[in-house]
Symmetry: C2
Subunit: 132 residues, 2 copies
DNA sequence: ATTGTTAGTTATAATTATTATAAACTAATT
DNA sequence: AATTAGTTTATAATAATTATAACTAACAAT
């Protein structure tokens, strides 16, 4: 019911596929960082019926547009998404190619002193690259 | 001569193509942020002979490996590169899709309090997204 | 419930950035 | 000059993503 309302309230029809993808994405306490490819595999594991790749793409983009997912800037051949849509910082493990959330309290306050005329700051995010 | 030595010293042959690309990339005081596509256009403007796309890719990757260029993590369909290879922060103008360097003095020191066992910090970079 | 309307799903094709291939060429070395 | 290894190039292959269009499911109105 939770996801049915969530989808209806944002003008998205609660289809079987979307509800199943919701479960995979949001039925967990931990932040989930993923590529479409990884999400597809997780769906196959957890769900018995098939969801087409096009639907996975469509759903992820629909959810992103509605603010339930955000894209994470990482240089990879695939796009990374995040179920944590707040502004937040990341560790990126270069060896494992894994993203890990940093709490805002893990990073001191960041003071941007420079200003650009006519532009305002939308977000400030830190990427901390890790290696062994 | 400048670039001939630079290339020779890093074990790259100073070919006509590489020297011309060097001029486009490094003959400027300002940091140059670019995609392969943008670089290709700039080459066509500034150079009369033709350089094949494969060579542009090869050269950019060779220069990146030698530490003359670095990749910038930005969500785009194309990969961004930077002639400023030091660890530094960026403004990213979401409207113009343009990267602008921040001086380290424009951002106060950043204190990462969390640690991951067995991993060490390789870089800490801030991305400040701007909009109108 | 039946119907019509609209949104969503799907298989598949198209697109596009990037990488691989292999032959031709060029710079460096002997 | 001849040899060698590195580089360039046109072109093909790859792979992530997006577009297409027929089919299907959700929903509102009757
Ligand atoms: Mn990319
Ligand atoms: Mn990217
Ligand atoms: Zn995150
Ligand atoms: Zn820069």
């Amino acid at each position: 019911m939770k996801y049915i309302d969530k989808l209806r309230n944002s003008g998205l029809r609660p289809t079987k596929q979307r509800l199943q993808i919701c479960k995979v994405l949001f039925d967990t306490e931990k932040t989930f960082h993923f590529t479409i490819n990884e999400l597809e595999h997780k769906i196959k594991e957890k769900i018995d019926n098939k969801i087409s790749l096009a639907t996975v793409y469509n759903t992820v983009h629909a959810f992103e547009k509605k603010g339930y997912l955000k894209q994470i800037p990482i240089n990879s051949n695939q796009t990374y998404f995040d179920t944590n849509v707040t502004d937040h910082h990341h560790f990126y493990d270069l060896n494992d190619q894994r993203l890990i959330d940093l709490e805002n309290s893990d990073v001191g306050p960041i003071n941007i002193k420079k200003k650009i005329n006519g532009k305002r700051i939308k977000s400030v995010e830190v990427l901390v690259k890790l290696e062994d």
